[in-house]
Symmetry: C2
Subunit: 147 residues, 2 copies
DNA sequence: GATTAACCCTACTAATTCAGTAGACTATAT
DNA sequence: ATATAGTCTACTGAATTAGTAGGGTTAATC
């Protein structure tokens, strides 16, 4: 149940970008340095984020990256899914349309219920938190409690 | 954010065991066959589950495995943690006591907040579902809703 | 119009983790 | 005694991950 480095770096980098982009495009180098991430590795990450249309790029000198939308409109869930594929604790749930469901072969699978709940909880939580929430304080600060 | 085969098989096998153990110890071979899991691989899994004191073993002929506690007292969270280590989306959160916190090195890390929430949500959900819930129907069937 | 700062993109590689096997040992019911 | 079933460690092959290398393209500026 661990995120890969790509997902972790991606979220960190997007936060960094959120904090700096107000002054125009931010070069990847800046972010890589601030976050202590290899420039070339981060480049790959940003390539995927751009293809997922979460960021825009500007080429040439004084170029760099910008958020594709307002930071309040970009959720952590989107970032994670762009970099790690669909949020799903087991394969059966990942390719939802495709009918590739091991659960059916083996016997009526009782564990699928818990994985569905888990997926919905994780997705719900991550989709409900935006970059703005993390960077500029949350609407409701009190969501952590009660565990 | 995917479970490993160990975790997935472990949960499936524990469910299988719950359903069969009423008639005395269940040999590993039975479960492996029913679930379509390699016997030797499942053996390793059960070794870890026994060490985590989630199951008991009986050796010799007519031996096998039994739940160490009542099925209502064993949560899915315990099974997953026994097999996959602490539930934590990022390393920083895994070794909580040990002070090995990358977050501090780099800069005040804003993403840690979301990972803490995520961990608490996942842990809360998985710790709140028991084998009995999955096998014999849940107390409150309506827990899925609202996402 | 040359230079240079930036992004674009694919392919490769080293390291690690994962999934599964092998095989030798121990306990116990019959 | 023998067969059945768990115990345990070490090994291996495959897959994934993390990171590198290096050759593009675009556009601002001098
Ligand atoms: S085999 Fe897919 S979750 Fe049961
Ligand atoms: S570096 Fe650990 S979550 Fe920020």
């Amino acid at each position: 149940m661990r995120l890969s480095a790509k997902g972790e770096y991606g979220v960190r980098a997007m936060i960094s970008l959120t904090l700096e982009e107000s002054g125009g495009p931010v070069p990847l180098r800046n972010i890589a340095e601030k976050e202590g991430i290899s420039e070339q590795f981060l480049e790959q990450i940003f390539l995927e984020l751009r293809r997922a249309e979460l960021i825009k790029s500007v080429r040439g000198p004084r170029g760099g990256y910008l958020l594709a939308r307002n930071s309040a409109e970009i959720s952590i869930g989107e970032i994670v899914e762009a970099l790690e594929g669909p949020i799903a604790p087991v394969d059966c749930l990942a390719q939802e349309g495709s009918g590739r469901n091991r659960c059916e072969h083996v016997r009526k699978c009782l564990s699928i219920d818990v994985w569905i709940k888990l997926r919905d909880a994780v997705k719900g939580l991550l989709d409900g938190i935006s970059l703005a929430d993390l960077c500029f304080g949350e609407k409701a600060e009190k969501t952590t409690a009660m565990v």
